[in-house]
Symmetry: C2
Subunit: 195 residues, 2 copies
């Protein structure tokens, strides 16, 4: 018989917030609604969290950490740039799909962060995108890739990866890694010099 350990209230609040923020957006979700979903009074939320924005920033920076952690080992690996890029696409997409609620909030609502979180977030994102750009650049220097506009290419890569959460249905039996690989197939074959 499995023992069910209740999650700490703070975690429950976080996860329920991710769900509600995903459905209605951060601004349109009230603390009263969140409390109701948890079956407690609105004021009780503040025993566990400092403010509504604390929840948002913890989602945003938490996801940022997860994304960095996912690609870090790949950057250090001994692989071709094409292999690295594919692995990064698969890793990034898996993080998105493994955290659909949080990543939806991450993509839509980071704009509602106030300073200094807002600027901090943007610079993290820039650094993350730079890692992808670097691989592309090395691949170009290498002859592996034929990319005219690196920035444009990175933006398009992220567009494709970061919208998967909007149409992905787990019932499709299309697994997380499968989505990433299909994405890589579609995108890489337009990138690699000689297939």
């Amino acid at each position: 018989m499995p023992i069910t350990v209740e999650k700490p209230r703070k975690v429950q609040i976080q996860e329920t917030a991710e769900e509600l923020f995903r459905e209605r957006g951060y601004s349109a979700t009230s603390m009263r609604h969140l409390a109701a979903e948890l079956g407690i009074e609105p004021a009780s939320l503040y025993s566990h969290i400092k403010s509504k924005e604390e929840i948002l920033s913890s989602i945003c920076f938490g996801m940022a950490d997860t994304f960095f952690a996912a690609i870090e080992p790949i950057l250090k690996a001994n692989k071709t740039n094409a292999q690295k890029l594919r692995a990064m696409i698969v890793a990034h997409t898996s993080v998105v799909l493994k955290n659909v609620n949080a990543s939806t909030v991450f993509f839509h609502d980071w704009r509602h962060l106030s300073e200094p979180n807002f600027s901090e977030f943007k610079s993290l994102r820039k650094a993350y995108e730079h890692a992808f750009k670097q691989i592309l650049a090395e691949g170009v220097a290498n002859g592996e890739f034929a990319v005219a506009d690196l920035s444009f290419c990175v933006k398009t890569l992220f567009s494709a990866m970061n919208m998967t959460h909007e149409w992905y249905k787990p019932e499709d039996a299309l697994q997380h890694q499968e989505v990433g690989n299909k994405l890589a197939n579609l995108l890489l074959n337009g990138i690699i010099t000689n297939p």
Copy 2:
């Protein structure tokens, strides 16, 4: 000397709303803020519009019309499917970039439409995406395209096109059609059987 004709108030309200909704999102923008931006009292807005949601739905359905109008002539043209697809990508992307404010609202805030607008919007979008799917399917039957998963491919196409508004900077001197063509280059070369 050019004669400057003042735009009708209703149009001013619409355009200012597009700007504010784009910056802060629909839910986080108040009618008081909108009125202040126009230099009138909040209550005065209601001489020209019925409700806040009326503005949103007029943005959403107006953009939907514009998108359909842009691809319609291409569908009827006498071209290969590859040529059609490229033209549709360029046309769609141009609409996005020519209406950055409205299209940002269109992509982010359609979720806040209430019924029956909500369902109506979704079915319009489905019909629009179907037009792209159709071209892909014909191209596959044709031997022009090698696409294993049509739905997946359409979703990825739209992801790439519909995120351009987020990073496009007019100062880049990258023209609207240029963006579309670069997108088509990147995407089509992963789609066409024999380049």
